[in-house]
């Protein structure tokens, strides 16, 4: 999904098997040398899923950070809590994600410090999302994108309702009761919508999924993604954000079934 560039003679690497770092020098100069822009993602995370349920919102992402087709880092957490009631699920470039974490954590610490003197409530999920959207759009407008797609999940304490929204490297924003990035948008989103609409109806005014039901849908979706997304891994976490706060599950795996594969020509033991 996070496409790496082809080398100059593009008959190679049609399957994105390796990333090719290309520092473009001399494009713009600066007192401290050329300004480095992220021209492409290197170490990447794949899909993130998000789903609203009756008491809050859940976000799921697996633990893999890939280097091209290499499953390079297999114990990376891509769910990041911000304050008591907000959580980011991040796909795309992991170094940009780490930078983002650092910036946002610093901002929230500053807010906490100010709140010590005026007791004003900290930034709501909506506030953080708005900031993130402006940041992503500003960076894309400088042709120096933050190479991520982010789901922001949260609980709004004032309105007493859950929050779920998407923003990506183009500054594109939207919100919906079910969301998915990357391959998840193709493979998991239909499953999430189907489950959501089965109870809530197409207008979303019926009852929402329970916590157990929501977790089941996410488990199923993560399994489908593991089966079909070559950049995924069978080890993922689910974050749950409710009025009580954020909780992130331990890493877990789906039960998978591969028996059918042995009968497939070209997969199992047969050579012909």
């Amino acid at each position: 999904m996070w496409k790496q560039p082809a080398p100059a003679n593009s008959s190679f690497n049609d399957y994105n098997t390796f990333p090719l770092p290309q520092t473009q020098r001399g494009q713009s100069s600066h007192a401290h040398g050329p300004v480095g822009h992220t021209q492409q993602p290197l170490v990447t995370g794949t899909s993130v899923l998000g789903l609203k349920f009756d008491k809050g919102v859940m976000i799921a992402a697996d633990n893999l950070a890939s280097y091209g087709s290499l499953a390079r880092f297999r114990d990376i957490q891509r769910l990041h809590p911000l304050g008591k009631h907000t959580l980011l699920g991040v796909a795309g470039d992991m170094s940009d994600f780490q930078w983002l974490k650092k910036e946002l954590d610093a901002l929230l610490r500053e807010e906490d410090a100010l709140a010590l003197s005026d007791s004003h409530p900290s930034l709501s999920p909506k506030n953080i999302y708005e900031l993130l959207s402006n940041l992503f759009y500003a960076r894309r407008s400088k042709m120096n994108p933050v190479w991520n797609a982010v789901l922001v999940g949260g609980w709004d304490k004032v309105k007493e309702e859950s929050f779920l929204a998407y923003v990506d490297l183009l500054g594109t924003t939207y919100t919906a009761p079910t969301l998915a990035t990357g391959f998840g948008a193709h493979l998991a989103q239909p499953l999430l919508r189907e489950a959501f609409e089965a109870k809530a109806g197409i207008n979303g005014d019926g009852p929402l999924l329970t916590q157990e039901e929501a977790e089941k849908v996410l488990d199923d979706s993560m399994k489908v993604l593991f089966y079909r997304d070559a950049r995924s891994i069978n080890k993922y976490q689910i974050a749950t954000i409710t009025a009580e706060g954020v909780s992130i599950s331990d890493s877990k795996s789906s039960d998978t079934y591969w028996k059918f594969a042995e009968g497939l020509r070209g997969y199992g033991a047969q050579t012909q």
Partner: protein, 272 residues
């Protein structure tokens, strides 16, 4: 000799096509359509609520039509991130205008301001088609349409976006009476004098038809109606006179009050 004169093609032959330059593309197309029609003492500005990218529906509710002040409504279509950020900047300018002049900016001034703002980014344009509708200083309904770099004109009606090619010919026929002949002896057709109920029906028909034939249009329809100061709103508020399925809501005044009135009419569109 001839036998070995041709080494294996894939290794040495120059690529027949020039190397594909891989560069960050800061734009996207988020589909959808907008349209506006001016009446004698009202103006109607509408847009669907689907936001998509390629074959994926990102959300079934994202607004494309924005109330700017009591006499102006702006519809944006194209790259959604540019659209929302452009509207944000327009609103910012309008607020500074009100700080300075203690009155809302007039419609034609907004139109001119939008031109300069769009042209200001002539060499990195907002990938957005804008349609501005509202009430002119003299009380007449007006529609202004823009291209992404600021060319604009006042018109009686305009459709834009993914289904422009479906909607505009219909509007040309129904609003400008193109290819219609008045009956012998009857009065000449004059565009811009249709009653509100007729205009609303045309808007609804435009969007239901576009929804049938264009995959990027659907989900929901939002129609803003701005009325001249003192005009009766009975034709809109009387349920019996309104097409079934339409829900009307009056948006309270933003400024001093007792001036122009703005209504929001909603209808659902097919979701497939």
């Amino acid at each position: 000799m001839a036998l070995y004169s041709q080494p294996p093609m894939s290794y040495t032959q120059e690529p027949t096509t020039a190397p594909v330059e891989h560069r960050f593309n800061p734009y996207s197309d988020n589909g959808g359509s907008i349209l506006a029609i001016a009446g004698k003492d009202f103006s109607v500005i509408a847009g669907d609520t689907r936001q998509s990218e390629g074959y994926s529906i990102q959300t079934r509710y994202a607004r494309k039509v924005w109330q700017l002040n009591d006499k102006a409504v702006l519809a944006t279509n194209g790259f959604a991130a540019d659209g929302t950020n452009f509207v944000k900047r327009v609103k910012q300018r309008l607020e500074w205008y009100e700080h300075a002049h203690h009155k809302p900016m007039g419609l034609k001034s907004i139109a001119r301001m939008i031109q300069t703002m769009l042209y200001g980014k002539r060499f990195f344009p907002y990938y957005v088609y804008n349609i501005l509708g509202g009430i002119e200083e003299d009380g007449t309904g007006a529609v202004y349409s823009f291209d992404p770099v600021g060319s604009y004109e006042r018109e009686a009606c305009r459709g834009a976006g993914a289904a422009q090619s479906l909607i505009q010919p219909f509007l040309d026929n129904q609003i400008y009476f193109k290819n219609q002949q008045p009956e012998a002896g009857s009065e000449k057709f004059v565009p811009g004098n249709l009653p509100l109920s007729t205009v609303l029906s045309l808007v609804v028909d435009s969007f239901t038809s576009a929804t049938e034939r264009h995959i990027e249009v659907g989900d929901g329809l939002e129609i803003y109606v701005v009325m001249q100061k003192g005009r009766s709103a009975d034709d809109l508020l009387d349920e019996k006179k309104l097409a079934p399925g339409l829900k009307v809501e009056e948006l309270g005044a933003l400024g001093e009050g007792e001036g122009e009135r703005t209504f929001l009419v909603r209808q659902s569109l097919k979701r497939d």
